[in-house]
């Protein structure tokens, strides 16, 4: 009997292991359940495959929360989001904000004019970098612009310039009008192409 001891123990351990529910195998929480409902339009984990719907991965939670509440309360124009945002409570919005903030912003190649983008890089440095840091990649203080889908950026600017969307920072309004005044619509377009060129 003695010589079988290790075997018996081994078998018992294996059986005990087999009986233990694989508690660590399943990974799903309320935040994922909420956030995954967005994937059909904004892409899996919030990184949109384009060509227009914005990537919401890697957003600062504050900006996500403000955007959703503004849509919900009719303070920000949109197509479908004002209707969708009305379905969520503050707590649910916070859960989704925290989830998407943790996801990497995946950048995909998109059509852009390389010459315009080169010009836009310089203009970005002059007019936008102060808040949209790291070439528009930083997310701590402002919206991520680098790699964002060009039609979406274009729509947002249209709304800002038509006074339909309120500026989060007064300074943006100032810098934007300076950019247009000195560089014209072509300058504005160049900056957008710079963001579209970022990988």
């Amino acid at each position: 009997m003695k010589q079988f001891k290790p075997f018996v123990f081994g078998a018992a351990a294996a059986l005990a292991l087999a009986l233990t529910p694989q508690a660590d195998a399943v990974e799903v929480d309320d935040a994922q359940v909420m956030a995954n409902t967005c994937a059909g339009c904004h892409g899996p984990d919030g990184s949109s495959r384009g060509p227009a719907a914005p990537t919401i991965a890697g957003m600062s939670p504050e900006i996500f929360i403000d955007a959703m509440k503004d849509y919900r309360e009719g303070k920000r124009p949109g197509t479908i989001m004002p209707r969708i945002a009305k379905g969520y409570t503050d707590e649910q919005i916070k859960l989704m904000a925290e989830y998407f903030a943790k996801q990497p912003f995946m950048r995909f190649a998109q059509p852009h004019d390389a010459q315009l983008a080169a010009k836009g890089a310089k203009l970005h440095e002059r007019y936008c970098e102060k808040c949209h840091e790291e070439g528009g990649k930083a997310s701590a203080e402002a919206g991520v612009l680098a790699g964002q889908w060009l039609p979406y950026l274009h729509y947002q600017l249209e709304d800002y310039l038509a006074d339909k969307r309120a500026y989060r920072e007064k300074n943006m309004q100032k810098r934007l009008s300076e950019l247009i005044e000195k560089e014209g619509q072509e300058g504005l377009k160049a900056v957008l192409h710079f963001y579209a060129s970022q990988k």
């Binding site: 059986l15 529910p21 309320d30 994937a39 059909g40 904004h42 969708i84």
Partner: protein, 422 residues
């Protein structure tokens, strides 16, 4: 541990194994938990994707007869000549890469007692839980004179692929001045705005390529999805091209003469150059065979877990399921699949399902570069899925907004496809 203690311990363990074996055999044997998914459309593919994501230890087998999948959504763009058929074709390679075992075969039986799925080729697949996403079955007899045999001459194009190509080709070959007739289906059916998006895009095609032609829609329903938006679009863009006759004019009974492509109804006889009949529908055939359907042909489910109310251990999602106020749309199937995958993953780990969250977002093209949308956010209330927010594109939305919606619709397609098949 002395001898007696050891024996007691082992006996206890043996008893535990025996008990476990009754409830969850694969767990007790230390084997992987098995989920078999029947049907590789939007619901099935999404469920496979999210099960692997929520619990990679689950062995997921997806059984689907076709090696390629054509989405029903965006197939109206193919019919209207705005997209290639190839652009709505997708393969299962992405799912296989995610560790889903993809089997191309037809499921012929689901044995809820033996927990086993049987296929046409005689293969048997054991499951701990089964997810059925069977889509719809067309009830050809719902339109007198119509049949499956007639579908090549008179396409329904309500399952995408060859049928889509046939209808597109017939429109292309029709001479200018021809008459297109569509028979719309009665409720409930897959994709509520689908017939009207199709009417818009056929009219868009006729307007551009065959301006002397006409489209007549014979509709057994008084009201339909996005009605105000479609009606306004038809007036704006296709005045004199689309004529819709509702039940007040056409009645609800349609008879077709296949040889002459003529439809008879209360409004008279309509001879078509191109005839598109969308027959009444019920849950996909395997749901009927596996006794998952009620007397009306749809599947009653627990709207939290999507477990069948008729066969325990089998879940039904997508068009076939009775899912409260959610429509039978692709996005709804995608959303239900995620809720179901969450519930199944947790149940297989001996845990309670979390609070569900459901969404629907559906775009319909009204012209080449303009679309309208409907959105819905749903909650589970007293066991039923109810809409708590959402709604339609505003009736006064300017064209600039409708063009943005068309761009977002293109994004919707790319993103939902990646979510399912990526």
């Amino acid at each position: 541990m002395n001898r007696m203690h050891r024996r007691t311990f082992l006996q206890g363990l043996g008893a535990a194994v025996a008990v476990g074996a009754v409830g969850a055999p694969s767990l007790a044997l230390g084997a992987a938990k098995k989920v078999v998914i029947v049907g590789g459309g939007t619901g099935g593919a999404t469920a496979a994707q999210y099960l692997r994501r929520y619990d990679p230890s689950i062995e997921v087998t997806l059984i689907e007869p076709n090696k390629e999948y054509y989405t029903c959504y965006f197939s109206n763009l193919v019919i209207g000549g705005l997209r290639s058929l190839d652009s709505i074709r997708h393969t299962y390679d992405g799912l296989a890469k995610r560790g889903v075992k993809v089997v191309h075969d037809t499921v012929t039986a689901i044995d809820g007692t033996a927990k086993q799925v049987v296929t046409a080729s005689g293969q048997k697949f054991a499951y701990d839980r089964c997810i059925v996403s069977p889509g719809i079955e067309l009830v050809y007899t719902g339109v007198e004179g119509y049949s499956q045999e007639a579908e090549k001459a008179i396409p329904h194009a309500w399952k995408a692929g060859e049928q889509t190509a046939i209808l597109a080709k017939q429109l292309q070959e029709m001479p200018d001045g021809g008459q297109v007739v569509m028979v719309a289906p009665p409720n409930p059916y897959r994709c509520p705005p689908g017939p009207y998006e199709r009417a818009s895009l056929i009219a868009n095609y006729l307007k551009q390529h065959k301006p002397k032609s006409k489209l007549i829609v014979l509709d057994p329903k008084e009201k339909f999805s996005k009605q105000g938006l479609f009606t306004a679009a038809w007036k704006n863009h296709y005045s004199g091209i689309i004529e819709r006759l509702g039940p007040d004019m056409a009645g609800t009974k349609f008879t077709v003469d296949v040889k002459t492509k003529t439809v008879k109804c209360d409004a008279g006889e309509f001879k078509a150059d191109v005839l598109n009949i969308i027959p009444p529908q019920r849950a996909g055939k395997i749901a009927q065979v596996a006794s998952l359907t009620d007397e009306k042909g749809w599947c009653p489910v627990n709207q939290h877990t999507f477990e069948s109310k008729l066969v325990p251990g089998v879940h039904v999602i997508g068009d076939a399921a009775i899912a409260g106020q959610m429509p039978k749309s692709g996005y709804a199937a995608n959303s239900q699949a995620k809720v179901c995958a969450m519930a199944v993953a947790l149940l297989l780990n001996g845990k309670e399902p979390l609070k569900p969250a459901y969404t629907n977002t559906c775009y319909s093209f009204i012209a080449s570069d303009q679309a309208v949308s409907v959105a819905g956010i749903y909650e589970l209330k007293e066991g039923a899925i109810v809409e708590i927010a959402g709604g339609l594109t505003p009736a006064d939305a300017p064209e600039a907004i409708l063009r943005r919606e068309a761009e977002y619709a293109e994004s919707w397609y790319k993103n939902i496809i990646t979510d399912m098949f990526g």
